[in-house]
């Protein structure tokens, strides 16, 4: 008395039609076309620049350690459907505020660095929460809003550290402050925490001829682990659902706004820590400019690694940092060698960074529009 059992044979079998054999390789090639293109560019650049391999490898190790954390901090918002978090700049500012505080207090070394990481948390959580609130009001245009929010926050940041410090915020530290007693100096020396993390572990262990910041890589590794663990948790699953379709997530009882808020807060906190790692490596920072390019360079690196606005993995981030910074190192010299003008290489570099973001954004918008159109027709 039961109704017939439904098997794939009783329905027109469209499943196989949609994934014809052999498309797997095509898909991988399609997804990897951007990294492959940039790998070729790097290759050409390396040959043209004719740098000593030793210098190049050393430089790349340093830059991987310096930038990977920042780029990895972009992944979670992509999963939650917020696109590329241009608001990462705000995280960077929180990190810098923490650095200014520990420098003022005169605490250095690894304890100083860890204290800065701790101090940056309340700042970045608060600012991340505010960012999330703003982005939740601008659904569908999160990226441009986050981008402008970065500029806006920069204005407030400058207001605080250039005008309010020494006037409304009592502070007296001739080393850090301008001679007028109002506002901070343009550059702040970070001797106290210089390479505090880089040199924290196995300082004497070298990899062949190269000095490796083991502790920094350990931290980056931990972040990778955390990210991949996070995507397998309930919260991570909710973020993926929200990222794919806010409406369906909402109907399934997921609190969409709250989920997006958490994604942005996590990203902002990680961004703050990423900036700390970045600056302890450089050893000095430009009070009013260091954070400005952070968003753009990190995003360009992530995209060069093969990520898109709706999909990003740890491997995209790491590969992207590798390729982008190789290009960064070699392009001025390559420009010099090929065209005789060193600036060409530098401009070419920023052209690539801007261009890759423009192309990714355009491709993504184009594809999602096509998808919407075919959905309407289908």
């Amino acid at each position: 008395m039961t109704a017939p059992k439904i098997t794939p044979q009783t329905l027109p079998d469209k499943t196989t039609e949609k994934t014809p054999q052999g498309s797997h390789l095509d898909r991988i090639l399609g997804e990897m076309s951007v990294p492959i293109f940039f790998a070729l560019l790097c290759f050409i650049g390396i040959i043209a620049a004719d740098l000593s391999p030793r210098f190049l490898v050393n430089e790349i190790i340093t830059r991987l350690a310096r930038n990977s954390f920042l780029v990895l901090s972009l992944i979670i918002p992509v999963i939650a459907g917020l696109g590329l978090n241009f608001g990462i700049v705000i995280g960077a500012m929180s990190g810098q505020a923490a650095l200014i505080i520990i420098t003022h207090l005169g605490i250095g070394g690894l304890p100083g660095f860890l204290l800065a990481a701790l101090i940056s948390v309340p700042f970045s959580v608060t600012l991340g929460w505010l960012t999330g609130q703003v982005l939740n009001r601008a659904k569908g245009r999160e990226m441009v809003t986050g981008y402008i929010l970065g500029f806006f926050a920069n204005g407030l940041y400058q207001l605080v550290f250039l005008v309010l410090v020494g006037t409304l915020i009592p502070m007296n530290n001739p080393k850090l402050m301008l001679s007028s007693g109002i506002g901070l100096r343009n550059t702040i020396d970070l001797i106290a925490v210089n390479r505090a993390l880089d040199n924290a572990l196995f300082n004497s262990v070298k990899l062949g001829a190269f000095k490796v910041p083991w502790a920094t890589f350990l931290v980056i590794g931990l972040l990778c682990l955390f990210t991949s663990y996070f995507t397998k948790t309930k919260l991570g699953q909710q973020m993926r659902a929200v990222g794919q379709d806010m409406h369906i997530a909402e109907v399934s009882g997921i609190n969409v706004n709250r989920t997006r808020l958490i994604a942005i807060i996590i990203s902002t906190v990680l961004g703050a820590w990423g900036q700390l790692i970045y600056l302890q490596n450089i050893g000095t920072f430009n009070t009013y400019n260091s954070h400005e390019q952070v968003g753009m360079f990190s995003i360009a690196a992530l995209l060069i690694g093969g990520a898109s606005i709706s999909k990003a993995t740890i491997w995209n981030a790491l590969l992207g940092v590798l390729l982008f910074h190789t290009l960064f190192v070699v392009s001025p010299l390559a420009g010099q060698r090929i065209l005789g003008i060193p600036q060409v290489g530098e401009y070419f570099r920023s052209f690539l960074a801007y261009g890759i973001i423009a192309v990714s954004l355009a491709l993504h918008a184009w594809q999602s529009r096509k998808k919407v159109e075919s959905k309407d027709k289908g």
């Binding site: 439904i6 909710q238 659902a241 997921i254």
Partner: protein, 558 residues
């Protein structure tokens, strides 16, 4: 009971899927009982004293025309916010004989009510398992979750897969539960939705909201079979549909809604498609005689002919329709939602991709080009008044004249600059004043933004816009939707006036058969994207009902 009442109407496919379920042996207890439910939106009563009960394992079909109150009833059962935001309802909902309060979809789910939506609520980039378990994931605690909260518990994929497997098997669906939904054919997606509902451990009642609307016929058959399997396992099913043959194929009980009232509840073996159709449509018709014409329209003098006409309008596809329109008539186009009646005007006017032939006065019209349609002296008043018909933040004047400016270069004056013409504001003002008076548009003046007007007056602005083009054919879609009763009559009168006084041929699409029967000369009924037949307005309710449900009749007109 195993012998169907209308054997000839059954599609062959039903035969081997339809298995008689024996003599009804439904238990006496009820899962859900509605008592005297009344609901009104802003003073308009949409549900009046509904009484309904569903027993475990019963398939209970709810049929009715558009606007009969089906979706309101479902929203009410599922606790949708829209009900409570508009002041709640009167009457009682009982589950297992106990009164319950359902104030959110979440509560409904907790009570064991599931809903299979008309549009798929599935995430394409997730696997079947992930979709079935969406926001009900099975998790395992870990170190981080103990410190930071349950949100960080890890997902237990093997357990989730096992559950999904079980749910799919209950439906008799042999498909790998880790397949991505994006790779599934449309027919499968509905099953995943159902699997999600039955995976909810306490599922007792599942509401199917027009589940077959997007399915192909064979897929619909599979769905019906699955519904029966569920019913056999004791789950009660509320089945909302337009398709009467599906109702006859699977339901135990049939309730007919009409104008917010439950007209009748029948058992399947006591009734017929014809009776249901009659009950769906039937209502008193007030048809006052219309003014006559010098020469009545006839097939001798056609103004427009559609041949093998197809329109790709989502949800309202037209699939190879043929239609002849007589010069000077008011032709009605009726039919249920989703059958394609709305697509016809939109396709002819170039707003949705169309193919086939449209011949006006012997000349073939260029399709997919709104300008060509306008230049062929046709005008269109869209069913989507606010979306297509109006510039809400612009003035009445701009709304009325803009199309005339763009297509006919009216209301422009030459300037001293050679070749440059500017808006003639005085002419616009004078003209708008006149038409406001003629059509009796209630407003503060030509410069009032149309957003501030009432629905009826907005509709008059739309009519004025179309009228200003002096069309030979006026297409009007759902002219009375969303406007109050007094204004409805005015709009209909206006259409008759356009037709009789200016000789405009009017093609009016409407979901309300009554208003079509009030002013039309002939009414074409559309079913599955084609004309099922053409009836005189004074044909019987039963004929209208059957034809709406796609049954061919012997005695048609023209």
């Amino acid at each position: 009971m195993s012998s169907p009442v209308f054997p000839s109407l059954w599609r062959p496919l039903w035969r081997h899927n339809y298995l008689p379920r024996g003599v009804l042996q439904l238990p006496e207890s009820t899962v859900l009982e509605l008592k005297n439910i009344t609901k009104s939106y802003f003073g308009v009563t949409v549900l009046k004293g509904i009484n309904l009960s569903v027993k475990p394992g019963e398939i209970h079909a709810i049929v009715g025309e558009n606007g009969a109150g089906k979706s309101t009833l479902m929203n009410l059962i599922f606790g949708m916010p829209v009900i409570h935001e508009t002041g709640g309802f009167e009457g009682d909902i009982l589950m297992d004989g106990q009164p319950v309060k359902i104030s959110s979809p979440r509560q409904a789910m907790e009570l064991g009510i599931g809903m299979v939506h008309q549009e798929f609520m599935l995430i394409p980039g997730f696997t079947i398992t992930e979709n079935i378990k969406l926001n009900r994931e099975i998790t395992k605690p870990n170190l981080a979750s103990k410190v930071l909260g349950s949100g960080l518990e890890t997902l237990d994929f093997p357990a989730m897969r096992k559950d999904s497997r079980q749910a799919l098997e209950k439906l008799g669906l042999a498909i790998d539960e880790s397949t991505f939904v994006s790779r599934l054919p449309v027919g499968y997606m509905q099953f995943v939705e159902i699997a999600r509902e039955i995976d909810k451990k306490n599922a007792r009642l599942i509401v199917f909201d027009e589940p077959t609307a997007v399915l192909a016929e064979s897929e619909a058959d599979q769905l019906i079979a699955a519904m029966k399997r569920l019913a056999e396992q004791g789950i009660a099913i509320l089945f909302i549909t337009h398709r009467l043959d599906e109702v006859m194929a699977c339901s135990d009980t049939i309730s007919i809604l009409r104008d917010g009232e439950l007209v009748k509840t029948l058992t399947r073996n006591e009734t017929s498609v014809g009776e249901i159709a009659e009950l769906m449509v039937g209502r008193k018709l007030e048809r006052s005689p219309l003014p006559g014409r010098a020469t009545e329209p006839s097939d001798e003098d056609l103004i427009l002919e559609l041949k093998d006409f197809r329109v790709e309008m989502p949800g309202e596809r037209v699939r190879g329709l043929n239609l002849k329109v007589r010069r000077g008539e008011i032709l009605g186009i009726g039919g249920l939602a989703g059958q394609g009646k709305v697509g016809i005007a939109n396709g002819v006017m170039g707003l949705y991709p169309a193919s086939g032939h449209v011949i006006k006065d012997g000349v073939e019209l260029r399709l997919n080009d709104p300008k060509a349609a306008l230049e062929a002296k046709m005008a269109f008043v869209s069913e989507d008044r606010r979306g297509v018909g109006l510039l809400l933040d612009e003035s009445i004047a701009v709304n009325i004249v803009l199309t005339s400016i763009e297509t006919q270069n009216k209301f422009l004056r030459w300037t001293i600059l050679p070749g440059v013409r500017l808006l003639d504001q005085k002419a616009v003002h004078d003209y708008t004043l006149k038409i406001i008076k003629d059509l009796d548009i209630r407003c503060t003046g030509p410069n009032q933004p149309v957003r501030r007007l009432s629905g009826g007056n907005q509709q008059k602005v739309c009519l004025a816009r179309a009228f200003s083009l002096h069309p030979e054919i006026l297409w009007v879609s759902e002219p009375t939707r969303g406007i109050d009763i007094g204004a409805k009559q005015l709009v209909l009168d206006l259409l008759v006036q356009f037709n009789r006084k200016y000789g405009m041929t009017i093609i009016m699409t409407s979901s309300e058969l009554n208003e079509l029967r009030r002013i039309c000369d002939r009414i074409a009924l559309v079913y599955k994207g084609k004309v099922a037949g053409i009836l005189k307005p004074d044909a019987s309710d039963r004929d209208f009902g059957l034809m709406i449900a796609g049954k061919q009749l012997a005695k048609e007109v023209g």
